[in-house]
């Protein structure tokens, strides 16, 4: 199957037909949402569309093809290779990662036991987020992230679906492999939701570089401490920081001499300042670089690069 059609293997035969008729290409497709008895929706080139039964993209959800329970069941079977049981642990976290590093969010009836999630039943909502490894997307910001041969503590700030994980992934790869700006570094990645490395059944689906170690499906705070204790990283990378435990672990990372790459949700530094825990990190000038992303012309557009004081040192484009 061509690269552009590889994502089709995740869907039941009827949904596959509709997607084939639509002619959408994988590179520009970000998300496919399937909800029982609701229209089939996709995020394509940064916009939301409904897909009709003929495969036409429309801005009118009412005209979209209604996803049936059979479609959901068939898609779940295809996504999991008919082996949903093999993804038991991941399902408890509400998602599974499939070959190619794509992440499938699941929602349905949660089964609790002794206060812990035991599993999900009657899965009626799927969110298939396609992973796009874009090699070279960090080229523009790398000169600012590496200063005099040393990696700066960097925070990537971006709204959802604007490419912060894609950018982080390429930064990790280039720092690990080495570049004209600095020799290769040992990078430790805490991949809490398998989005960065896209591990599927223990195998990394994305290229994170030759000197990268990955802790998959591990909470950020514990993961950072584990990496510090056992993998001697020179750089640690985490996605979506925001909790108090994350802040405490970050403190340990910084004071151990490791460099830190992290991301956070937000539209701007002002947004970050409104969140008490992140505001504290800003006030303490923990981060030396801030990369602000937006979704103006396309996802992953770099709006600005700021220094530790929040002053812009590189404009967008």
């Amino acid at each position: 199957m061509e690269r552009r059609e590889q994502y089709l293997q995740f869907f039941s035969s009827h949904i596959r037909e509709i997607l084939q008729k639509s002619g959408v290409c994988q590179e520009k497709l970000q998300e496919i949402r399937m909800r029982a008895e609701r229209p089939l929706l996709i995020w394509y080139e940064g916009k939301e569309y409904a897909l009709t039964e003929d495969g036409n993209l429309t801005g009118e959800p009412d005209r979209g093809y209604r996803v049936s329970r059979e479609d959901l069941r068939g898609t779940l079977e295809c996504i999991s290779g008919y082996s949903l049981y093999a993804f038991d642990e991941e399902m408890k976290q509400g998602f599974i990662t499939v070959s190619g590093g794509h992440r499938v969010g699941l929602a349905g009836k949660i089964i609790m036991e002794d206060g812990k999630i035991r599993g999900i039943r009657h899965i009626s909502f799927l969110n298939i987020r396609l992973s796009h490894q874009i090699r070279g997307c960090a080229d523009r910001v790398l000169p600012w992230v590496i200063d005099q041969g040393e990696v700066c503590h960097t925070l990537i700030v971006s709204p959802p679906r604007c490419g912060k994980t894609t950018l982080l992934r390429d930064l990790i790869r280039q720092i690990s492999d080495g570049s004209v700006y600095a020799a290769g570094r040992t990078v430790g990645v805490v991949d809490e939701r398998s989005e960065i490395g896209g591990s599927c059944l223990g195998i990394l689906q994305n290229d994170l570089g030759i000197r990268t170690d990955v802790l998959d499906c591990c909470t950020k705070a514990e993961g950072m401490m584990m990496l510090l204790r056992s993998m001697a990283p020179q750089v640690i990378a985490v996605d979506e920081i925001g909790s108090e435990r994350d802040s405490q672990a970050i403190g340990s990372v910084i004071h151990c001499g490791c460099r830190l790459l992290a991301t956070a949700h937000g539209n701007s530094l002002e947004d970050i300042r409104r969140r008490p825990l992140l505001a504290q990190l800003l006030d303490e000038q923990v981060f030396e670089r801030y990369i602000i992303l937006g979704n103006g012309i396309r996802p992953g557009e770099v709006w600005s690069v700021c220094d530790r004081y929040g002053e812009e040192i590189q404009g967008g484009g």
Partner: protein
């Protein structure tokens, strides 16, 4: 003399045919029992692979196909091939096709074919919380059918052999 030789040969052939018929009917009962027993063992094996080791289904089916009766191997390999190809068909379709194509008519009686077709619910179930329970339930159901098949075989095997032989003798007497 020639006529005597021919008659002796004829008697022998008729007796052999009768006995063969009896043996064939006995073999049919025995195969029924053995196939059901193999499916019970398959379910126990798959439970280990799926619930304990979390082996992906196509791999687990191929591992299970490694040993066992030819008919079962064919079913498992057919299903594993189609699972691997990811054509978009449901596993229910794949498994039922595998049983229909690889277990020819006569290998399994109609009453036993349906429970074997239903095994798909244990192998590919969206309710992973209930997966182990489904495997146990299917195994228990098939074990019951297997016990019935064994009892029928033990009760009737000797009878069919004797009936076959007796039929042959009766035919000989009739012709003589």
């Amino acid at each position: 003399m020639v006529w005597l030789a021919v008659r002796t040969a004829g008697i022998f052939l008729i007796f052999a045919a009768g006995s063969f018929l009896g043996d064939a009917m006995e073999y049919g009962l025995k195969r029924q029992w053995l196939i059901l027993r193999e499916f019970c063992e398959l379910l126990r094996y798959m439970e280990r692979e799926m619930v304990v080791h979390h082996t992906p289904l196509d791999e687990a089916l191929r591992l299970a196909a490694g040993s066992g009766m030819r008919e079962i191997r064919e079913v498992l390999e057919y299903a594993a091939d189609r699972v691997e190809r990811q054509e978009g068909a449901s596993f229910q379709e794949i498994w039922e096709d595998a049983v229909t194509c690889c277990l020819k008519d006569g290998v399994l009686r109609a009453g036993n074919r349906e429970p074997v077709c239903d095994i798909w619910t244990a192998f590919c179930n969206q309710d992973t919380v209930m997966q182990k329970t489904m495997l146990e339930k299917q195994e228990s159901h098939l074990a019951g059918l297997c016990r019935d098949a064994e009892q029928e075989y033990r009760a009737k095997a000797g009878l069919y052999r004797r009936l076959g032989a007796a039929g042959g003798v009766f035919l000989i007497i009739l012709l003589l």
